[in-house]
């Protein structure tokens, strides 16, 4: 890790940070990644988990049908009241193009 890498990651995450913070984060990340990186060489592979575990402890997905909506508009005011800028029932944003 180095300062430039951290600044680039912060850019991807849309967070403004100072050069000094990037520098100190790079050292912190080195020690954190060194610690969590121990799993890299522990030999974990998704394909090794095998069907046995799958059958014994299945992971299920839960879906539901669309429907039963709440009464239209009952939360509109409460939610829009939290918006930093609004125009009537719209959230106001800056011009993009």
């Amino acid at each position: 890790m180095n300062k430039e890498k951290v600044l680039n990651l912060a850019k991807l995450a849309r967070i403004k940070i100072s050069d000094a913070e990037a520098e100190s984060l790079s050292h912190e990340f080195d020690s954190i990644l060194d610690y969590v990186g121990q799993i890299k060489n522990a030999g974990f592979k998704v394909q090794d988990l095998g069907l046995k575990n799958e059958e014994k402890f299945p992971i299920r997905n839960v879906l539901r049908k669309d429907g039963e909506p709440h009464e239209s508009g009952i939360y509109t005011e409460g939610i829009l009241a939290q918006a930093p800028a609004r125009d009537g029932n719209y959230i106001k944003v800056k011009k993009i193009l």
Binding site: V6, L9, A10, L12, A13, R14, I15, K16, I17, E21, L25, E28, F29, S31, I32, L33, Y35, V36, G37, Q38, I39, K40, A42, F44, K45, V46, D48, L49, N53, K56, F57, V62, L63, R64, E68, Y75, G78, I79, A81, Q82, A83, P84, A85, I91, V93, K94, K95, I96
Partner: protein, 430 residues
């Protein structure tokens, strides 16, 4: 205590971010008259919920979280919202944007975290019970530090609708109480399937794999290899003897991959956080800071609204999910997570519960561990397995190191809170 009395008592502790002056009883129910605090990441309609962050300093909840709705129906009095590490990232509430919560047993020390305010509010007698949330030990560790009972239920037992997300596959709402009986009472009120949270489960989802026979497994090698303090080691040995004297059978067990639970946690947690917290954009709600154009608004808002630890975890999460590192970190962590879960669940075919200390040491001094984030992360060594696997776990007060409380932790199979309550009541003499 009246709201005024709570405010006076809380001056030295800072368990509360807000004590509600308009606190009222919600009528007759199973929890009538019980005073309860809620963590600052749970929505209570028309009240502020800031998740301990400047990002949501002025956010007012437009609706009730499902748990809040349920405790109201049970007739509680909601006395206030409690302090927490910002967005539930931390182990001591020192990451709160609104100041640290002090330990009621020694105000020079931390109350633990992230539900430090919840634990301190109950331990100091400012309320009867508290709702907290637990992503990697955030209920159990502060409960241990403050000498109270902390329960993290099975993943999916309690609806997360209206809980501000941190790690959606780990987060679970649970209870902080003085007794195991109260934990059971409050748990029975808040649990249940909820159409507004598709991850919630029914009482029948996980059937018991064995009859409860009072058998406790101890991963002795794991406990002893993790640098625990002498006070914790002695206290843990006493707790084991106590269980034996209560007719429990103790079995030494080995879980070879349990040691990877913490590294797995600190890969998956920042990864999910970086994705979950993308919603804070200064557009829909929360803080807005002006930049030179639309995209610059994001940079300004997120740079100013998130505190240091939150920025650290989002950026770290961005790294472990980025192309080239995804397989190495996130992919491996997800595989390890499933292996650790399978290992734990297989263990629960042989024993009813696993016993460990809740923390490697008692509460530390305010500021003592703030220099190195990794040092703070290592404090979660005995709690993260429950979130990784989804298993329920409870921390029970087990004695003192000087004046500082210590805790032991029981973990059970998915859906087996009943085992935790039975053994917990035995241990506490309830």
């Amino acid at each position: 205590m009246t709201p005024e009395e709570i405010k006076i008592k809380d001056k030295d502790i800072h368990a509360f971010l807000e004590v509600f002056d308009d606190a009222k009883s919600y009528g007759n129910g199973i929890l009538s008259g019980k005073k309860i605090s809620i963590k600052d990441n749970m929505l209570f309609s028309s009240h502020k919920a800031s998740a301990g962050s400047k990002m949501l300093e002025n956010f007012t909840a437009p609706y009730d979280a499902t748990v809040v709705k349920k405790i109201k129906e049970a007739g509680v009095i909601i006395v206030g919202r409690t302090n927490m590490d910002e967005f539930a990232m931390g182990s001591s509430t020192e990451n709160s944007a609104y100041g640290v919560t002090k330990n009621p047993h020694d105000v020079g020390r931390v109350a633990g975290g992230t539900s430090g305010g919840a634990a301190a509010s109950v331990a100091s007698g400012m309320c009867d019970m508290a709702l907290g949330s637990d992503t990697g030990g955030s209920i159990r560790q502060p409960a241990a530090f403050c000498g109270v009972v902390g329960l993290k239920p099975t993943y999916g037992r309690v609806s997360r609708n209206g809980l501000i997300s941190y790690v959606s596959s780990f987060d679970q709402i649970g209870t902080v109480t003085k007794t195991v009986s109260d934990a059971e009472l409050l748990y029975n009120v808040i649990k249940g399937q909820d159409p507004l949270d598709s991850t919630t489960i029914s009482d029948d989802t996980y059937k018991p794999s064995r009859k409860f026979l009072k058998v406790i497994g101890i991963p002795k090698k794991f406990v002893e290899s993790e640098g625990i303090s002498d006070e914790v080691r002695n206290n843990f040995a006493e707790a084991v003897e106590k269980f034996k004297s209560l007719g429990y059978k103790i079995k030494e067990v080995e879980l070879p991959n349990l040691k990877y639970a913490l590294p797995v946690y600190y890969i998956i947690a920042p990864a999910e956080a970086s994705s979950n917290l993308a919603r804070f954009d200064g557009v829909k709600y929360g803080l807005h800071k002006e930049g030179i154009d639309g995209i610059d608004d994001y940079f300004e808002t997120r740079g100013a609204g998130f505190g240091r630890e939150v920025r650290r975890r989002i950026i770290l999460g961005t790294y472990v999910l980025s192309s080239g590192y995804y397989d190495e970190y996130y992919g491996k962590a997800v595989a390890a997570r499933r292996l650790i879960t399978a290992e734990l669940r297989s263990l629960f075919e042989e024993v009813d519960m696993m016993l460990t200390p809740t923390t490697p040491s008692p509460a530390w001094k305010v500021g003592e561990k703030s220099k190195s984030p990794l040092e703070m992360y290592l404090e979660d060594i005995f709690t993260v397995h429950a979130n990784i696997s989804g298993c329920p776990a409870i921390s029970l007060p087990s004695g003192l190191a000087g004046k500082l409380p210590l805790g032991i932790e029981l973990t059970a199979d998915l859906g087996r809170e009943d085992n935790l309550f039975a053994a917990g009541k035995d241990f506490m003499g309830e």
